[in-house]
Symmetry: C2
Subunit: 169 residues, 2 copies
DNA sequence: TTGGAAAGTCAACAAGGCTGACTTAAAACC
DNA sequence: GGTTTTAAGTCAGCCTTGTTGACTTTCCAA
């Protein structure tokens, strides 16, 4: 489980990973995630919304007509937690909840024009940062980035990630 | 700012990044970060500690003798927020706070054996996941992963990240 | 000797998680 | 047709972790 020779980091031939390298990876995740959320957070502060609203808007935009249960599974939060967020978005006219045609118990969620507008301003900011990072790192790095992140996910999250439509890696 | 031809993703020659590729990157960050924190969170649940305590333990372990102000800057939270966490760790005997020798206003933070033990169990879990992800993705991917994350950080965070000691990428 | 930095503390508040209990409507089952 | 299950929504209360603002103590340094 440990190599007991921490510190020296030279050529890592496939299986030799020092604790130092792993720790750097861990810290990279920590600092990068802060940057990842910084721009949308800045836009949202002052509004009545937060990161949770952003996530809901993102996945509704991305899978229009998704049901509440679906969204619950993707976001990995409780019904009560999501409901609080969803209720305010619906009341404020950013999200529309339509009774299901086939199954009238279900509610299908869509962004209104107003909701789409906020979603776009949030995702524009986030995409701009991602684009800058991808360009700075180069095309090869993008593949590596995606591969490592994918391997880091829980099995169930990976399935959800891969099954989100238009997936052509 | 936008290419207006979303969807098709074939060879991306250095500067051509579709919104689709960027969105996949964004979602990869979201799902992967959940996996990244899942194991330590599982260990901590049931104890009186949470993710904030984990972060404090991590950076104290990594930079023994660091001052409170230093830690504040790295974690990016307020003094009051950190103090609450630090107080419980000190009271429970996981962290020792030593008055500075040169400057007696400063407190230098160290892990006690008990604190080091918890830190190790948390970081063992997190490293195991990182190691598995790195192995699954291969050595080239690890470089790409680090490069993209580094480029995604805010300028100030990147400086902190790079200046944390024993940095030999 | 005085100004300011480092640390610590109290109080109050907000976001966003959680559990538990319960309702309503509609589908599915037998 | 009656029962059970499922999807959604709600109320109440709790926890963690972040925030501001105000204030104290200590002590270095100009």
């Amino acid at each position: 489980m440990d190599h007991s020779q921490t510190g020296t980091s030279h050529s890592d031939s496939l299986l030799f990973l020092t604790d130092e390298q792993l720790r750097k990876g861990i810290e990279a995740m920590f600092f990068a995630y802060r940057g990842f959320t910084a721009d949308p957070d800045r836009i949202l502060e002052g509004m009545d919304y937060g990161r949770a609203h952003h996530r809901a808007l993102h996945f509704i935009h991305r899978s229009p007509g998704t049901t509440v249960n679906n969204l619950l599974a993707i976001l990995g939060v409780t019904k009560q937690s999501l409901n609080r967020v969803l209720r305010s978005l619906i009341e404020d006219g950013l999200v529309e909840s339509r009774v299901g045609r086939a199954d009238k118990r279900e509610r299908h969620l869509h962004l209104t024009p107003k909701g789409a507008e906020l979603e776009r301003s949030l995702s524009d900011a986030q995409r701009a940062r991602m684009r800058a990072a991808f360009r700075a790192a180069g095309p090869g790095a993008v593949q590596g980035f995606r591969h490592v992140l994918e391997a880091m996910m829980d099995e169930s999250a990976r399935k959800q990630y891969l099954s989100l439509k238009e997936n052509s890696p």
